[in-house]
Amino acid sequence: MYDDTWLIVPVYNEEPVIEQVIRETLESFPNIVCVDDGSRDASAERVARTGAHLVRHPINLGQGAALQTGIEYARSRPGARYFVTFDADGQHQVADVRRMLGRLREGSADMVVGTRFRSSARHIPRSKRLLLRTVVALSPRLRKLRLTDAHNGLRVFGRTVADTMHITCNGMGHASEIVAMAAKNGWAIVEEPVTILYTEYSMAKGQSLMNGVNILFENLVAGARR
């Protein structure tokens, strides 16, 4: 049913969880490309045991670069029409992806992004909530596009967006870069409320508050250069 859909999963040191996440997701989505971003553990070996496609960066580049690699791989596959960016640590739900794909196929939007803030934000840890709200408050673009959650890793988009996608922020700044691209190219973005499972594992790996400073700086310089 989802033969025309590709899931792009950036993987960096996810050995404990990756195999199970991919196996479970493959039951619904047959096409998954994992981009191993130079993991130091056995993540790539774990991925190779599943039925997912595997692309390996020879060195660690960052999540933005891994996404771009995955998108370039997926869009070169025959029959690929829909693309999903999906996290490797098991915090995204397959049911959410199905709903988002449904909305995209209706044709009213070019991209559907997940948001943690449309419904109750109670399940989000407080420091994280503060960070995410700050990013939105400081970004005029996000406010203009009426987006409530800039850094949600769950995104669904179609062929046109995938073909134009060109992420240059290797690190975590890519989320804002994608929004900037959307504003520039006039892509219609809609939000879909999603549930993020904050497991202890994903919390330990998640973005720290201080990384928010890095993201803001990166976007500030990039903004001045455009």
Partner: protein
Amino acid sequence: MLIQYVLIFVAGWLLTVFLRNHGTTRASAGAKICFLGFVVFSVFAVLRPGDISALANALGVGRGTDLLVYAIAAGFAFMSLHTYLRFKELQLRQAQLARAVALRDAREPQTPGDSVVDAEVP
């Protein structure tokens, strides 16, 4: 003092010009000219400290040393920014290279959709 506003305005203007044109031939020539000017200014400051002080007074920035400090601080700030942007460019090229290698060596699952238990990763 007027000079303070002028300095801040010029710094902001230079920063914008620098950020917008970084990497172009004109910008890199401009940077070289600025550097040359800075060297000449430094030599002049060493040889004729009195003149620098007079110039500083005329501009309203106190002593000649202060003027030199301003120039060095500005030079350092631009240098840092230049290095940062340069690193970004190199990072991007490095990413493109690594991506090309990764895509060339991509592995498809042996039986699509099925698990491959004994697969070896090169």
